[in-house]
Symmetry: C2
Subunit: 214 residues, 2 copies
């Protein structure tokens, strides 16, 4: 049959696709998340319609691009999360892995945090909720499963784990974003502060004496 030929063609197409993705990567890294299809096509040495033949629309290209980086980052995180160490160490190492990643490639990070970005108007009733970037969602779910697998949380553990997964990821994300913008302290200090927060130091701290009103 045509199987051999088909795989041949498919291989060629896949290679082309990878090349295009790499070109897109370069452009996004240079121009940020609002890189235009024209610019990407030019970087790849071709013209727009080819991009559209490969990826359907801008969302498709961006999704493919995001998937690569998301998968890579999630692999690193999984490694930190599964390391044979005690819980606090694992938490700190996971936080540090994430923060190191966004520190090393902030443009990529910023690109990944964009929701759907496009969403041409016209469609009444846009999808409220699901505003977050897929990366955040995936990290949240991932963390949730690890928590649920590892920790004994009593009844309702699954739901609790999911809330915590998404909550912790959000904490990490927001703190990292703020930190990246202001750089108020070293990465290690940030990691330590966040771990302290998760370790209940907020609840354990004493009230300040002579506060306003008390």
């Amino acid at each position: 049959m045509d199987t051999t030929q088909r795989t041949d063609q498919q291989r060629s197409a896949d290679r082309r696709r990878r090349e295009l993705l790499e070109a897109a990567d370069r452009v996004v890294l240079r121009d940020g998340p609002q890189a235009s299809m024209n610019a990407i096509a030019a970087e790849a040495g071709i013209t727009k319609p080819i991009l559209y033949r490969h990826f359907g629309d801008k969302g498709g290209l961006y999704a493919a691009l995001a998937k690569r980086h998301t998968d890579a980052l999630l692999d690193s995180l999984r490694a930190a999360l599964d390391a044979p160490a005690d819980r606090r160490e694992r938490v700190e190492s996971t936080l540090d892995t994430y923060l190191a990643a966004i520190e090393a490639r902030p443009q990529v990070y910023r690109f990944l945090m964009h929701p759907a970005e496009g969403g041409h108007a016209g469609d009444q009733g846009f999808d409220v909720g699901k505003h977050s970037a897929p990366l955040l969602r995936r990290m949240g779910e991932e963390l949730a499963t690890v928590i649920e697998e590892r920790l004994d949380l009593g009844p309702g553990s699954q739901q609790l784990a999911r809330v915590w997964g998404h909550g912790i990821v959000g904490m990490m994300h927001a703190a990292g974003d703020w930190w990246l913008g202001e750089r108020p302290c070293s990465r290690a200090e940030l990691v330590r502060s966040l771990a302290d927060l998760l370790w209940g130091r907020l609840a354990a701290a004493g009230d300040k004496v002579g506060g306003p009103g008390f």
Copy 2:
């Protein structure tokens, strides 16, 4: 002098501005964050250039629009945060206030969470960092000051408070966003789960026996 006249004109301009903002509000509430300037102008019964005269560009309009809602939400949050109750109660009530707000007007919430949205390309070296919505930043700073005012955190308290402020806000945001999309539990349960997380239940939980590998 022309002070009286000036104030007269300024009043008129301010009133007009408010009207335009309310029209914009209606459109954003209907069409979502990607509402076009044309649509907003039409809703206000005028044409584009007037909008541009009042707000400069789309970013200006959106910033003005966001400021209104952000101020309103921050007022509610401050009230919950400053209530005369113990810490756990205040935390829960603040979380609940935020979640109730995003539950009640999800479109507005989604609009507020958008960063700058526009940012025409061309400017090389876009602002990495500062990706987050202004609302998140302001909430984070607000919470940080409250924490620093109220809690005795020892040395480095200011920096720690800021990390925690942004971290907690991010936790609240991400969990709320996920919850709004999936609705896996009631608001009260979500609040409780998040407060538990902040109260150190993650650190206190026991390891699961018979886990994979241990």
